[in-house]
C-alpha cells in the first residue's frame, strides 16, 4: 500500500518499545501500548514489569486483552490486586512509565480526553474523560504519549480542557501545582515523528522523523511552535524480527495489527 514493508502503527509500536528500559515498570492499558510493552519484554527489556491499572501484575499474557480489567490481564499473574493499590504504588514511585493518549495535546504535553468545545455543560463532543489518565500523568515518573492522526486539530496551541497534566503552563508549573518533582511527559510518538520535551522550556521538541517525513511536514501538522533538536534522527524501521514477534507472538489473531 505505502511501499513500506511495515505499517505506521507497527512503526509507532516499535518506537514505543524502544523507550522502555530494562528493570523498570510500566503501567499499561490495552492496544498499542500493551503491544509495545510486550515487545520490549521480548527484545531489549526482558525484566520489564508490566502492571495493569485494574490490578493485574506481571501476567503471562496468552492473548491480547480487549479491556484493562479483563480476565486475560491476570492470566498467570504474580498478583491480582485492586485499582487503588496500583494507584498507590504509582504514587510511591514504583511505576516508571505510563502510556497516554488523547483527542488534543498542547506544546507542554497537556492532554484533553474529556471534550471538544468551550462549554463544559454542553460540549460539542464528549469523550470518556480521565479514566486513569490523569492519575498516570500525575503519578508515574515518565509518561509516553501516543498520538496518531498527527495534525493541527489535534496538536493545538490550547487544548479545550486539560484532562491530564503535561507540564501545565511551563517550567516549574507542575511543582507549583503540587505534583511531584521529576515527573511529566517524556516522549510523544506520532504517525509522523518522535518528540521529547526541551529540558529548559518544557516545550515539545522534535528529535526524529519517520522515513519520508520532513521537519517541515511536522511543523505544518502541528498547531503550535515546536522546539527542534540540533540533530534530527530518522526513525529506525521495525526489523523483520520485530514484525515477527508482533504478528506471531503478541497478536496472532491480528486484533491490533491486521495482516495485510
Amino acid at each position: 500500500m505505502t511501499g513500506r514493508e511495515y505499517t505506521l502503527r507497527e512503526l509507532m509500536t516499535v518506537i514505543a518499545a524502544k523507550q522502555l528500559e530494562d528493570n523498570k515498570a510500566v503501567a499499561v492499558g490495552t492496544g498499542l501500548p500493551l503491544a509495545a510493552a510486550m515487545l520490549a519484554q521480548k527484545t531489549l527489556a526482558p525484566n520489564l514489569l508490566i502492571v495493569f491499572e485494574a490490578g493485574g501484575v506481571a501476567p503471562q499474557l496468552q492473548t491480547l486483552p480487549i479491556s484493562v480489567g479483563d480476565s486475560r490481564t491476570i492470566h498467570r499473574a504474580l498478583m491480582c490486586t485492586t485499582l487503588i493499590d496500583i494507584m498507590d504504588m504509582m504514587r510511591r514511585g514504583y511505576i516508571d512509565y505510563a502510556f497516554l493518549g488523547g483527542a488534543q495535546i498542547d506544546k507542554y504535553g497537556n492532554l484533553n480526553s474529556t471534550m471538544i468545545g468551550n462549554d463544559y455543560e454542553k460540549p460539542k463532543v464528549r469523550f470518556p474523560g480521565s479514566g486513569g489518565a490523569n492519575d498516570f500523568g500525575s503519578l508515574a515518573w515518565e509518561t509516553m504519549i501516543i498520538m496518531d492522526r498527527h495534525g493541527p486539530r489535534r496538536f493545538v496551541e490550547n487544548v479545550d480542557y486539560i484532562t491530564t497534566p503535561g507540564f501545565l503552563t511551563g517550567p516549574n508549573a507542575r511543582e507549583e501545582a503540587g505534583l511531584s518533582p521529576g515527573t511529566g511527559p517524556s516522549r510523544v510518538i506520532t504517525d509522523l515523528c518522535l518528540f521529547d520535551f526541551h529540558p529548559e522550556t518544557k516545550i515539545m521538541r522534535l528529535i526524529a522523523t519517520h522515513p519520508g517525513i520532513t521537519v517541515d511536514d511536522v511543523k505544518k501538522a502541528t498547531g503550535f511552535e515546536i522546539e527542534v533538536a540540533d540533530k534530527i534522527e530518522v526513525s529506525t524501521p521495525p526489523t523483520l524480527e520485530d514484525l515477527r514477534i508482533l504478528h506471531e507472538v503478541i497478536d496472532p489473531d491480528g486484533r491490533i495489527f491486521p495482516t495485510k
Binding site: A54, D70, S71, K122, F127, G132, P165, A173
Partner: protein, 314 residues
Amino acid sequence: MREFTRNNKTRAMIDKRMDVDEAVKKYVKNGDYIAMGGFGHIRIPMVTIYEIVRQRIKNLSVAGHTAVQDIDMLMAGGCVSNVDIAYVVGFELRGLSGVQRRLFESGQVKKTDYTNGAMSYRVRAGAQGIPFIPVKVMLGTDTMRHSPGKVVKCPFTGEKVLLLPALNPDICIVHVHRADMYGNCQIDGHIVKDDLQVRASKRVIVSCEELVDTEVFRADPGKTIIPFFMVDAVIEQPWGSHPGNMPYKYYFDHEFTENYLTVGRNKDTSVMDKWLDEWVYSLDNFNDYITKLGAAHLYKLRDDEFLRPPKRGK
C-alpha cells in the same frame, strides 16, 4: 451514615434472598446515588441494571467509575440525571457510545469529572467514615478546576494536596461469584474497588453466579470480601453479568455489545427504544433474557473465557 447503619442494617444473620424485582423495589429509589461494582465490562451487575431500567427508576446520580455497559444501559433507559465521571461514554477499544454522547452533549445529564484514582480515593474515605481525603492527582488541571476539590497545604510538610469529599452512595449493586443467603460474598479475580464501595454505601444489593452454603465461607474466612451484615439483598442469577466478562466463568459477549453500540449510535432514537422493548421491557425477568440468548450462544462465551477452540464438527 453512622445513624443509617445503626437503624437500618441488622447485624443478625437472616435470609436475604429475594428476586431482583423485589430487591430493586425495596432498595432503589428515584433520585438515589448509585454505585456499581466491577470495572469496564468486567463483573458488572447487569441483572440489577436491567431491572432498574425495567422499573423505570428516575433521576439517579451515578458513580461513573470506569462505567461502560452498565451506565450506558441506565442512561439509555432514561434513569440518570447526574454522573460523577471517572470514565464514561467510551467502550474502550470499541469506541464511543451514541447514547451517552447525546445525553451529555445536550446537557440533559449533568456531570462532574474526576479520575479513576480520585473516585477510588473518595470511596476509600467513605469507607473509612472520614469526610474528606487528601490526594495527589487532578492537581493543576481542568479536571480539578471543575471539581469541588480544594487545594490546601499539608500542616506537617507544607506540600500542596487536593482535598476531595468522601463518597457514600445510597445504593451499591455488585455481582459476585458466590454468596450465601445471608450476604457473605467471595469474588474471584479482580476485586477492583468493590470492597471499598460496598463499605462506603448505605444499601447493598448483591447478585451472585452461585448461591452456596455458609460453610464455604467458614472454610476460608480470608477469602470473604463482603461480610453479610453489609448486605441488604441477595439474588442468585447465573450469567448475571452478561454481556460483561465474569472472570473464570464467561467472557464478554462481543457480538451482543457491538450490536448494542450500533443501535445506540443510530440518530433515530426509536431504534434504541425498540431494542429496549425487545430486551428489557417486554421480558418479565432476567431468566427470560437468558433464555432468549439461548444456551448455545452462552456456552460459547464460556469457551471464550477459557480460550478453548470451538468444538470440532460444529
